[in-house]
């Protein structure tokens, strides 16, 4: 079994707000992230797939295919977008880094045929990242 990780970057804006909380609760729980005008990050995405090395190609997965799937399924939808308003997963769910990792996993899983998805890692900043393993 060999693990292969592909990185990508996207820039997006978001804000944290739950209609189930009062304005005071939203402000207390989410702090600066509650600003309704939003703020942005340069996100780094790491997608790790695993599989056996194909004896003919020497590949776990065709990197070009993986790159294309990531571009089409994730970057085209997320890059330079206001996540709360433009990405359907976040119309009713807060676009935290946790939920971004889960949404990206769910977008990629049905599109990856050759290799098995192992981990989605999303860096919101260099100091904060979330890992999701589909558990």
């Amino acid at each position: 079994m060999v693990y292969l990780t592909r990185k990508a970057e996207f820039a997006a804006s978001h804000y944290y707000h739950s209609p189930k909380f009062t304005a005071e609760e939203n402000a207390r729980i989410f702090g600066k992230c509650n600003n309704p005008n939003g703020h942005g990050h340069n996100y780094t995405l790491e997608v790790t797939v695993k599989g056996d090395v194909d004896p003919r190609s020497g590949f776990v997965v065709d990197l070009k295919q993986l790159k294309d799937v990531m571009s089409r399924e994730v970057l085209d939808a997320f890059d330079h977008r206001f996540l709360n308003k433009e990405v359907p997963e976040f119309f009713a769910r807060i676009p935290t880094t946790e939920n971004l990792a889960i949404a990206i996993w769910q977008r990629l899983v049905p599109k990856l045929n050759a290799a098995q998805l192992h981990r989605v890692r999303v860096y919101e900043t260099p100091d904060l990242f979330v890992d999701f393993y589909g558990e």
């Binding site: 944290y16 739950s18 189930k20 909380f21 729980i29 989410f30 702090g31 769910r93 807060i94 676009p95 935290t96 880094t97 946790e98 939920n99 990792a101 889960i102 260099p126 100091d127 904060l128 990242f129 979330v130 890992d131 999701f132 393993y133 558990e135």
Partner: protein, 138 residues
């Protein structure tokens, strides 16, 4: 849906690797330059990884502000710009980065109850890093 969240922190501290249970020659042989009597320092990069179900309402494993507050109060206040050898926890244990990992893990495990502590990882320099996930490992 279970997610693992990692937060990075920096602190700077000095230490000297020396064991009273060994002779001067043994200390010098085992610890090399790190045994220099006046000590030396590092910019430590600390990573704390916690995990748990993502809350439906908040979208979070835990509130990052709670983790930051705990780490600032209990770890960075304790170790940043300090001489590790003078700390009580390093009177018997040599302040290697292994032992520093264990000390920090034990403090965070004891005081942080909003999510499960997976791992403490410390980069002593860009070239070496250490991880501790508790006695059970992971």
């Amino acid at each position: 849906m279970k997610a693992h969240l990692t937060r990075r922190y920096m602190f700077s501290a000095s230490h000297r690797l020396h064991s009273d249970e060994m002779s001067e020659q043994e200390n010098r042989a085992i610890y090399g330059k790190c045994n220099n009597p006046y000590g030396h320092g590092h910019n430590y990069m600390l990573e704390v990884t916690v995990s748990g179900p993502v809350d439906d309402e908040t979208g979070m494993v835990c509130n990052l502000a709670d983790l930051d507050a705990l780490v600032h109060r209990e770890i960075l206040e304790r170790y940043d710009h300090q001489n590790l050898n003078l700390r009580p926890e390093f009177q018997k244990n040599v302040p290697t980065t292994e032992n520093l990992c264990i000390a920090i893990y034990d403090i965070v495990k004891r005081d942080f109850h909003h999510a499960h502590l997976d791992k403490v990882r410390i980069e002593e320099t860009m070239m070496n890093s250490f991880e501790y996930s508790g006695e059970d490992g992971r």
